[in-house]
Amino acid sequence: MSLMILEKALFNSFIERLISQSEVVGPKRKENTCAFEVINDPDELFLDYTTTILPPKKYLFPPEETLLKFNLGEVPEVEPVVEIKERILLGIHPCDLWGIWEMDKVFADRNEDTNYLDKREAVTIIGLECLNPDEYCFCTSVETAVPEECQYDLFLTDLGDEYAVIVSSDKGRRLVVGDDAFQPARSSTLAEIKAKQDEKSAKITSTIQMDVSELPLFFDNVYDSPVWESEGKRCYSCGSCVMVCPTCFCFDAVDQMELNLASGQRIRRWDGCMLQDFAIVASGENFRHTAEARLRHRMYRKYQYLMAKYGKSFCVGCGRCGRACLVDINPVSVVNQLIEAGQ
């Protein structure tokens, strides 16, 4: 790993160089919010953003992708499809870097999902320190404020007149090597980066009233809490929370035929355990038939089941679900209510 400095005045030409080499995706202003989109000009970037509508997962695990192509006939011809695109994801906040870290783990675990992993390999990640968290953010509560174990290629911190640039992989090195705009860091740069992290953390106002490491065991005691009913009965089962979550990855698989009925494809598309029919079987039985049971299950996934397995909260504290929820179900509020109800 090495530390470098990039003067702000030279930033745009760096971005222009990247755009000439590869597809670059970055945060773009969208009315009163922000979204990751392909950038054709550095002026389109909105780097002071708080968060985006959809997390970067849409580039690694898209809303819809083809798994197989087939031609029917006496003997069906079936081919696997892995869609890969080389691209640079620019401006990824620490919470979202942790979201990617967690998706990397689940798609590689036990059975390797080449559709995700090959896409992931083709992507270059440039992280960016977050400067403007809002009242929905709670990264500090789930320890995702600092991306220490995350796999990024470069990480930028805005220090005012310059960016500190952490170069943490060969891919990252290749982006900066030979470019005079990147100068060695000063002895104070590391401390300045840390100061910006602390400044961000100090702005967080929404907090879970328990140490994150205690959550998995704590959740053992709240399975029958009345909070699940009081929160769950408000839920519309719309699945907005699932769509915007950096670590939700449930999917459906369906076959689609061409009009000629001779060829077709099998695609996978986003699905969600919060949706009413998610756990229905052919007989009509629904194994999670109330919104409360579905809400409870999703929270247990994030704070117990997957957390216990991978040693990290699978909720990355980005706050997107709280912002997206039509009835203001907020994970911090739910967990704090569970804590209070238990006392």
Partner: protein, 283 residues
């Protein structure tokens, strides 16, 4: 660190298999014999399942109904219940389908070795159960006393009748059958499957109970087994959930923190005690 997968093959690519046999068992159920086009044996353990593709319609999970000791082909018994199954029912011998698998943990064969086995099958539960029963019968000397309890809603729903008769005729199996609602041709036991329990003697210390059936049956049969003195770690149940991938990714088959397709479908009652969504034991 490279993120790229170590393997090159897609998790979702099926192998082709040919239907060798299609036999109607009841109004709704058909038994299919299949063999992989690449000539390989399926290589499954009793209790495992495969994902069957009818390309253009979709893919669905089915328990393998034949024992792995039967070589040359494997059998699936399929109920006509939805899009994929009704498409499969229209297929004749010679037709090709996609197969992925075998998946799942299968029945715990090492636990069964040398023991008495109490098989309790309800309705369609006989389908995966048959794989285990025939496996055990093909290795008869490795097991102790065998008891089979099979119950269906009506006589018309009984599956594999020829095989049931052969099991019943054997002197080394105690086979009991019941239906909830008899018809005019039925002269045998009537009642839910738990009513068969008084008809059999089992040694609880030597016995493992294997239970497969509709969700409603599990709680009552579990209670019977416990009341007979069988310990919870030796009451084995096979569960079923919606599955779209079979490889622990799509999320549909989750029961609390477990994936039925990977950590199951076979669970002990002890494990199910920690899985309230399993619907067998309330916390």
């Amino acid at each position: 660190m490279a993120i790229k997968a170590n393997q090159t093959e897609s998790l979702y690519l099926p192998d082709l298999a040919e239907i060798t046999r299609a036999e109607k068992l009841t109004e709704l159920e058909k038994c299919f014999g299949l063999k992989l086009k690449n000539g390989n044996e399926l290589g499954h353990k009793p209790g495992q399942f495969v994902m069957v593709s009818v390309f253009g319609i979709g893919e669905a999970p089915f328990s393998v109904s034949s024992s792995p000791t039967k070589e040359g082909s494997f059998e699936l018994c399929i109920r006509n219940a939805g899009n994929v199954t009704s498409a499969i029912h229209k297929l004749e011998p010679g037709a090709l389908v996609g197969i992925r698998g075998p998946f799942g943990n299968g029945f715990p064969l090492d636990l069964l070795s040398g023991r008495d086995i109490l098989f309790v099958a309800g309705g369609l539960g006989i389908v995966p159960m048959r794989s285990l029963v025939n496996y055990v019968l093909d290795n008869r000397d490795s097991y102790g006393k065998l008891t089979i309890l099979y119950g269906c809603k009506t006589p018309a729903e009984l599956l594999f009748r020829g095989e049931l008769e052969r099991w019943e005729k054997r002197h080394d199996i105690n086979y009991q059958v019941t239906v909830d609602k008899p018809d005019s041709s039925w002269h045998r036991h009537v009642g839910v499957i738990t009513t068969l329990f008084p008809k059999v003697t089992i040694d609880p210390d030597r016995t493992i109970a294997i239970v497969v059936g509709p969700p409603v049956m599990y709680r009552f049969v579990a209670l019977e087994c416990i009341q007979r003195g069988i310990v919870e770690s030796r009451i084995i149940m096979s569960l079923e959930r919606r599955m779209k991938c079979g490889v622990g990714k799509c999320g549909h088959c989750q029961i609390n923190g477990k994936y039925v397709c990977q950590d199951g479908p076979v669970f002990t009652l002890t494990q199910l005690r920690g899985l309230p969504e399993g619907g067998v034991i309330r916390r």
